[in-house]
């Protein structure tokens, strides 16, 4: 069904190499020893430690949601919806569906949020779902109400995610011309789709993938592109000013588009966009309108997500007798490790945002956001 498809596209697994190893409860305990290792500047972002077990979860949380939450612990996926619970939902006698369902939804969302902070698209989807549930007429029969809701959700996933992705990919791939060298950063699903589609259409172009520590998401992109037979060049953030000279266009994915036209995306995106705009290379952002938000930010400090710092440690190599210098960083006074998830790219660096509604300048984000609310 569409829903399953949607869930697949959305939660396609992106395993993180050393997440599991480091987020064991043991390493959580280490945090409490001696010194506060939180970076003072970002104290507001270290809320509670990220949930690592399902212990203590409210009993109202549905099984499917639990499973979703668990997979979120392992993967950097962005599921827009976790709504299978509605199918197994039975309105308790004595209450109406809208009121009870809304109440029930909150622990689910809270649980998901405790696994990893909710992405902009998830928040938008939840807001939409709550409105939808509120609109259900109390008089409607329960079975009818449930099937109506599920259908609406299916449509939502199809429109906002699957079709939106296809539309964006075909629009963006038409921007790639023969002889182009496309530079991209880390891995974005829509950008991957765009590049593969342009290649399938027979356009002859090169791709430069810039990647960064500690996630190395770009390696996956390289894997996919190389498998499709594309000409790929790979390097890390240090080479960006160098490789930018040979690029002709820059394609970036988004985690969210903020209403002041800024791009909230994987950390390092701002560095790439800045280098591109200094050399007057067009920067094109591919972003579904579900990721548009009315939030705004001026810097990357107020809103962000902190990755557990142990992920910055270098993987221990086999046969290496001596320990990495950083291995015992928690015992060293005054030393802190900081790994942020996102950064905010100024709107000046962005030339074009491609959404399913068309291509527009970053200044139009807010109007697209309003438009997508009304549809």
């Amino acid at each position: 069904t569409t829903r399953q498809q949607g869930r697949q596209t959305q939660s396609q697994t992106r395993p993180l190499p050393h997440r599991l190893a480091h987020s064991t409860p043991q390493s959580q305990q280490e945090t409490q020893v001696v010194e506060n290792k939180n970076v003072a500047l970002f104290e507001h972002l270290y809320k509670q430690p990220r949930r690592t077990t399902i212990a203590g979860v409210s009993k109202d949380v549905y099984r499917d949601v639990l499973a979703e939450g668990k997979s979120r612990l392992k993967h950097y996926a962005e599921p827009a919806d976790n709504i299978q619970m509605i199918e197994s939902y039975v309105t308790p006698p004595g209450t109406s569906l809208p009121r009870n369902l809304t109440l029930l939804l909150s622990p689910q969302i809270e649980y998901l949020g405790s696994c990893r902070s909710l992405s902009m698209s998830t928040r938008n989807a939840i807001r939409w779902l709550k409105l939808l549930i509120n609109d259900v007429d109390i008089e409607t029969a329960e079975e009818k109400a449930k099937s109506d809701l599920c259908e609406a959700i299916d449509n939502f996933i199809r429109e906002k995610i699957i079709i939106a992705d296809q539309l964006i990919a075909s629009m963006a791939s038409s921007k790639i011309k023969d002889g182009d060298t496309i530079l991209t950063y880390a891995k974005s699903k829509v950008v991957t789709k765009t590049l593969l589609q342009a290649h399938a259409q027979g356009t002859k172009f090169k791709v430069i993938v810039i990647d960064s520590r500690p996630l190395f998401e770009g390696k996956e992109l390289v894997q996919e592109l190389a498998a499709a037979g594309l000409d790929v060049q790979y390097s890390l953030t240090h080479a960006i000013s160098h490789l930018m000279q040979s690029a002709s266009k820059v394609f970036l994915g988004a985690h969210a588009m903020l209403s002041n036209g800024r791009l909230y995306s994987r950390i390092g995106t701002a560095v790439v966009a800045m280098n591109a705009s200094k050399l007057a290379k067009p920067v094109i952002v591919c972003c579904e309108s579900i990721k548009f938000t009315d939030q705004l930010a001026l810097d990357s400090i107020v809103t962000n997500e902190i990755v557990p710092p142990n992920e910055l440690l270098l993987p221990e190599r086999e046969g290496q007798e001596r320990k990495q210098a950083l291995a015992s960083w928690r015992e060293l006074p005054n030393l802190q490790l900081l790994d942020l998830m996102y950064d905010v790219t100024p709107a000046d660096y962005i030339d074009m945002v491609i959404t399913e509604y068309g291509s527009l300048p970053p200044s139009s984000v807010i109007s697209i956001y309003r438009l997508s609310l009304s549809t």
Partner: protein
């Protein structure tokens, strides 16, 4: 101890066999070619020591052939590692010492009071040169060296066409001097200069000894450079600042460490992955032996640096991708560099360009700390020719990315060219310089006839 030859083993071999100059030269050329001695500081020290040996063993009795000999040796060294600009800078300095001694001998007869009456006082007070002298009790050694230099050349621009002959104090030099000459002190009139002629056969024994002294001063300067640079730290870092730095520069570490003796601040340190991160981690943790595939030469020197965290400074290690995100809270960016070109542009570690750009975008001042031996008089337009490339294996490891090897092109530049306009302040062992006054510092360092050392000849 590592068995691979490095700087200390080379210096040891110089001591052991002081007579076989050709062998030492060949050894150093090989070490340069194999990049077993690398980094501007190590190359500079090795070059200075070798040339000292060359000059000590040189038998000819006139300056012209001594200069020729140094130029020949210099050519071999720069050919071995053309991207290490410090080598040619040291050769230029030494050529300058020889020329100065040759000129000075003649001058000394006519104006004996210059060098004998007030030793330690700079003879020339170029209006563009920074305040010099005793700084925190550390004598600025370059002054002594500048003592023997005729003031005539101070207003040459480093990149102007120069006469390559050994004769400096000629009509040509006088004519190429701009009319609006404010930097030449009035102590020596052009007429007097005109009379002092060049005598190539004057007292060769003494000359050679004086040149050796001059080279020793240069070597001393290389050794004490970081201390002198660090003495300016208090002037530039104030309390509770957030400083961003990058990579493993020992000069930067000592600069920050000196500031830490008086002030409390926070350092955000970008790690410089994939070429420098082992060294960076070792530098901030103070565990130098921990890095297994780091550069052993580097560790030899760096072992003597105390990590900042031990001085009570909070150090935050970040991946390189985070520099833009954090720049809005950074008060100053302090960077080391590999070389500084005559136009003020930097050849610095890869990734520094992005930091400098991000700093400019946030109007954050960028301070570059560097020894004067990294300032090059060469003016080039093809900046990419100075960029060296590293092993692609650092970017894609053989073990963990075996499935990607062979499918992709991997690029690993070691250096970035950073425009001088992105730098707000240079701090050298001579003091602080605004970027636009850098060219006058460069001019004072080298004789203009040596500018074309590597490029022209």
């Amino acid at each position: 101890m590592s068995f691979a030859p490095n700087l200390s083993s080379f210096l040891g071999s110089l001591k052991e066999s002081p007579t076989n100059v050709e062998l030492s030269l060949q050894t150093l050329v090989d070490l340069f070619k194999r990049r077993q001695i690398r980094g501007s500081r190590q190359c500079a020290i090795a070059t200075a020591h070798l040339l000292k040996q060359v000059i000590r063993r040189f038998k000819a009795r006139d300056t012209v052939s001594l200069i020729k000999r140094v130029q020949d040796v210099g050519q071999k060294l720069t050919d071995a590692q053309p991207k290490e600009l410090a080598i040619s800078n040291i050769i230029r300095r030494i050529l300058g010492v020889i020329r100065d001694e040759a000129d000075g001998d003649k001058e000394g007869d006519a104006f004996q009071n210059y060098s004998s009456s007030e030793p330690g006082t700079p003879r020339k007070k170029g209006s563009m040169s920074p305040p010099q002298g005793q700084q925190n009790g550390v004598p600025v050694i370059a002054d002594l060296e500048a003592l023997h230099r005729p003031p005539l050349l101070t207003s040459h621009t480093s990149y102007m066409a120069s006469t390559n002959g050994p004769i400096v104090t000629s009509m040509f030099s006088l004519l190429s001097q701009p009319l609006s000459d404010t930097s030449t002190p009035g102590s020596q009139s052009p007429a007097q200069q005109l009379y002092s002629s060049f005598n190539p056969t004057l007292r060769p024994q003494e000359l050679s000894a004086e040149v050796i002294d001059g080279i020793d001063e240069i070597i001393d300067e290389l050794d004490n450079m970081d201390d002198q640079i660090a003495s300016y730290a208090i002037d530039h870092i104030h309390s509770n600042e957030i400083i961003l730095t990058h990579g493993t520069s020992l000069t930067v570490q000592r600069f920050l460490l000196r500031a830490a003796s008086k002030r409390r601040f926070t350092v955000i340190h970008a790690e410089g992955y994939p070429n420098q991160h082992h060294e960076t981690h070792a530098t901030i943790t103070g565990k130098h032996k921990a890095s297994s595939d780091g550069d052993p030469d580097q560790s030899d020197v760096q072992r003597f640096a105390k990590p900042l965290i031990e001085a009570g400074i909070t150090v935050v290690l970040i991946p390189d991708a985070a520099v833009f995100a954090l720049m809005s809270r950074v008060n100053k960016v302090i960077l080391g560099t590999h070389a500084v070109l005559a136009n003020g542009g930097l050849i610095a570690s890869a990734g520094v360009k992005s930091i400098a750009l991000a700093a400019r975008e946030h109007r954050t001042p960028v301070v570059v700390v560097t020894g004067v031996y990294k300032l090059c008089p060469t003016f080039v337009f093809d900046f990419d020719s100075f960029i060296e490339y590293g092993e692609p294996g650092c970017v894609l490891g053989c073990a963990e990315d075996s499935d990607l090897i062979g499918k992709v092109d991997v690029e690993n530049p070691l250096h970035d060219y950073v425009e001088g306009e992105l730098v707000d302040l240079f701090i050298t062992n001579l003091g602080g310089h605004a970027p636009f006054s850098l060219s006058s510092v460069i001019t004072e360092q080298y004789r203009s006839e040596d500018t074309d050392l590597a490029v022209g000849n």
